[in-house]
């Protein structure tokens, strides 16, 4: 039974996503009902899976070494739940957002196909399966980016495609060597290195692991393969940008997590130059992303740069290779997903309802769109890390994990960078709120509008409330996260 559900989580959205453009349903209500049914079922399935302990299912073996198999463990549960709920809320929002767009079927088709591939990635039980779904996510989400079919969006989509594929191949190089030096390609917490085979080849192995993480890092927007993200995320329709930034980019994080903790093992890299280099790259990305966001005036682009920075917070947490910092990273995965989806949906509301793309055009909109702007403010506070909102909790664990890590330079450098970046985050988000509510004297106040109707403002409110409440209620689940983080160390 549980195996069937696991398989359905992947196949159901694929079937629906494939059928949508083929059937060409005339009745729009029916179509929306169908899509929401699929998304609701996914969310329900994810909840059911959350309650289960674990499950395994072997799909097929290409050869003896190359097996495609699914397995659910704690990490998959976390990612699955985020994906299911994030897609559900973004999907509902999209009904209204895409109301006037042609090629709606193709959008929802690829939206659902991406969801299926994500579920597969979350449930992968070995490196081969994960690689398969990693590539599929790229291929299936690329059409979301070029939905508008403008020259700019096509160029951005191709950039996304080629950066991701280049990263995947870099990672594949690592996987080839890991196949030689591990006992199995399956994920084992604590890693599965065959120390006998490794002896004498440590240097080679470290180089390829380093490259593999840089490769998977492309999807997570990590320097130096981050260039595609600020180009691709903003050109997509807002609900697509939301899931791309909040969820799909995290596929890169998941891949790194699986590779480092479940295949290589944290102990092997701890204290080596590789760990230092990773931390350096991730911290650089944190700072650079915030800085670029601060300078950017186009709303969605600003949010995309912010994602570059925030996803690297998670990576910083993972690269410290201690349970505490890793726990901060895991928490930030969930919180950032929730917050960033909310922010992108807000940006989308301003585009659809007011036609405003730039942040400096939003003066005085506090009166016109109060629900939207209030939600934006709450989510912003959470992202900056004002207690008791959620971002504070994850950053707390990140910083204290860094301080207790025992790495000489990084143990104080990382908290400093995180703090500076938090200041920059406040600097690029709060002015929107301030101008919105206190526009000054010479600004014509725009008229009140309906904020896109309930289908648009409800998801935004739900997400912003979650962004705050998850922080307040974090006491309920920190133990679970702590256990999860500890379990990754074998």
């Amino acid at each position: 039974m549980i195996k069937t559900i696991m398989l359905c989580l992947i196949l159901l959205p694929w079937a629906a996503g494939f059928l949508l453009p083929v059937l060409k349903l005339k009745n729009r209500r029916g179509k929306c009902a169908l899509i929401s049914a699929v998304l609701l079922l996914e969310a329900a399935g994810a909840v059911v899976m959350l309650l289960q302990k674990s499950a395994e299912l072997t799909l097929f073996s290409m050869t003896k070494t190359l097996t495609v198999a699914l397995r659910m463990d704690g990490v998959s549960k976390l990612f699955m739940a985020i994906a299911a709920f994030g897609f559900l809320l973004s999907g509902i929002y999209a009904f209204r957002y895409l109301g006037h767009s042609e090629r709606e079927d193709s959008f929802f088709g690829f939206f659902l196909l991406s969801l299926g591939a994500l579920m597969g990635m979350d449930l992968s039980s070995n490196l081969i399966t994960m690689y398969l779904f990693f590539e599929l996510i790229t291929l299936l989400s690329m059409p979301l980016v070029l939905h508008d079919r403008t020259e700019e969006s096509i160029r951005a989509a191709l950039k996304y495609l080629f950066y991701s594929i280049a990263g995947a191949f870099l990672a594949l190089l690592g996987i080839f060597f890991l196949a030689r030096y591990t006992t199995t390609l399956d994920f084992v917490s604590g890693g599965s290195l065959n120390m006998g085979a490794v002896a004498g080849h440590e240097k080679l192995l470290l180089v390829v692991i380093f490259l593999a993480v840089v490769g998977f890092g492309a999807k997570a927007g990590m320097y130096p393969l981050h260039g595609w993200l600020p180009a691709a995320h903003p050109v997509a329709p807002a609900p697509a940008s939301a899931v791309l930034s909040g969820i799909i980019a995290k596929a890169g994080v998941l891949a790194i997590l699986r590779l480092v903790y479940f295949s290589v093992g944290a102990d092997f890299v701890k204290g080596t130059w590789v760990q230092m280099a990773w931390l350096g790259l991730a911290l650089l990305t944190v700072f650079m992303g915030s800085m670029m966001a601060y300078r950017e005036k186009v709303f969605k682009k600003r949010l995309a740069y912010s994602s570059v920075s925030q996803i690297s917070y998670v990576l910083v947490g993972l690269f410290f290779l201690t349970p505490e910092a890793a726990m901060g990273g895991l928490l930030h995965i969930a919180f950032h997903a929730c917050i960033k989806i909310c922010l992108f949906l807000v940006a989308g509301s301003f585009i659809v309802n007011c036609g405003k793309h730039r942040v400096d055009e939003l003066a005085g909109y506090g009166k016109a769109m109060p629900k939207t702007l209030w939600s934006f403010t709450l989510a912003s506070l959470a992202l900056i890390g004002i207690p008791p909102a959620s971002g504070f909790v994850s950053k707390w664990y990140l910083a204290s994990g860094a301080l207790n890590s025992g790495l000489s330079v990084y143990s104080w450098l990382a908290p400093v960078v995180l703090l500076v970046s938090a200041l920059l985050t406040a600097g690029y988000l709060l002015p929107i709120t301030i101008q919105g509510f206190f526009p000054g004297k010479n600004v014509t106040i725009p008229e009140k509008n309906n904020e896109g109707g309930i289908l648009m403002w409800l998801p935004i409110i739900v997400l912003s409330a979650a962004a705050v409440l998850l922080g307040i209620l974090s006491g309920c689940f920190t133990d679970a996260f702590s256990a999860l983080a500890n379990s990754m160390f074998g």
């Binding site: 050869t63 059409p143 096509i154 989509a157 191949f169 594949l172």
Partner: protein, 489 residues
Amino acid sequence: MHSCVLLCAILLPVAAALLLRFFKQNNGRAVHLYIGAATVLTSVLVWGLILRCPEDSFRLITFTDSLTLMLRFDALGRFFAGIVATLWPLTVVYAFEYMKEDARAKTFFTFFTLAYGVTLGICMAGNLFTMYCFYEFLTLTTVPLVMHLQTKAAIRAARTYFAVSLGGAAFAFASMIFLLANGADGSFALGGLLESYPYAKPYITKIFYCLGFFGFGVKAALFPMDGWLPKASVAPTPVTALLHAVAVVKSGAFAIFRLTYYCYGTELVKGTWAQNVVMAFAVFTILYGSSRALKDGHWKRRLAWSTVGNLSYILFGAAMMTKAGFAAGLLHMAFHAEIKMLAFFCAGAVLHQTGREYVRDLDGLGKYMPLSFACFTVAALALIGIPPLSGFVSKWYLLTAAADSENILAYVGAGILLVSALLTAIYMLTTVRRAWFPGKNTEASGLSGTREANLKMTVPMLLLALGILLTGVFSQPILQAIERIVGLR
């Protein structure tokens, strides 16, 4: 008895081709039925032999003691024959539709069927001399196919092909004479023939090995003798698909396998400068072919450049001089065959239906020819190496073999292979993108009324696409067969 059947398998298509000239019609149902029947019959016969025939050698003609024409159907030959015999009937069916309005179809089918017999001869050759003879025949029978259209470009391409092939064969000839002079005149044997005949100085042996490698490498489009292959893409699509992605070019790779593992043996060459030289050229060709493919906007020529790169994947496997490398090379030989044929079939179908040759003219065609482009997408993903399609499996084994070989150059090669895979992604997926997701105002004009190709073209394409998926998902039996060929089990 079995040996006669072997000879029959070679002579059947040859005879069928020669008898074709007595047909009154130039094209049409009767010709198609006749050629189709002959091809299918040959394929059935070959498959029967693959499954049943014992591994006896059979002397046809003895010129001198060391020069004999000898047939022997060993495991490697069976493998190649299996690929050829499976793909040939599909191509013939495709060709019936593709050549429907061609005035000289009879000539085309004559040489096409002749080439089938000659290719089988290469598979069944029992020693180097026999293989060399068939190898030369293959050049002769395929030149008329390259210049079939008789345009200026076609004639020029055929001339280049002819000159380069004969030149390369001359090098191979020198290598063969060296082997014969050193007493290696027996039938092919895994592990090489030279070990027990250490007459020549080692460095001379290595020089002659390189000569042979580059000589046979001409047909496998090894740099710097690669130029003929993209030029030859002016030929009708069935020719480019089957001969220039499978039969002819893979005969080159096949001959190199024979030379390396069955004549010289890896012991003499492994770890020396000779191995480094051939591997360096193979690795360079991988990068070179893929880069040229990226640059070329002509669809079929792009695919031909891609073939140049992919053939060197196979040669890279051969040049590793390990059993794992050999196995991986063979695996890629089989999988690249089906993938590249499918890609060419799709390009041909579009050419046939719309007359469009350049990638930039494909904007939005996916809506009008969905089946062809769905198939092309499958071929593209497989060629890039997305699991679970077959291309991933061969690439996996090629790269794990490289990681296992403990040879620095092979590590570099592994890196280059992945760079080439990225280039493959770029040149294949930009094509796919144009077809399915055209820009807002750039949809190509004059598309209305374009229709999907007819069944004779789409059915072979669908079968190949299915084959790519199935051989990828269930590649264990194929891998086992290959491991038996190379002696890994």
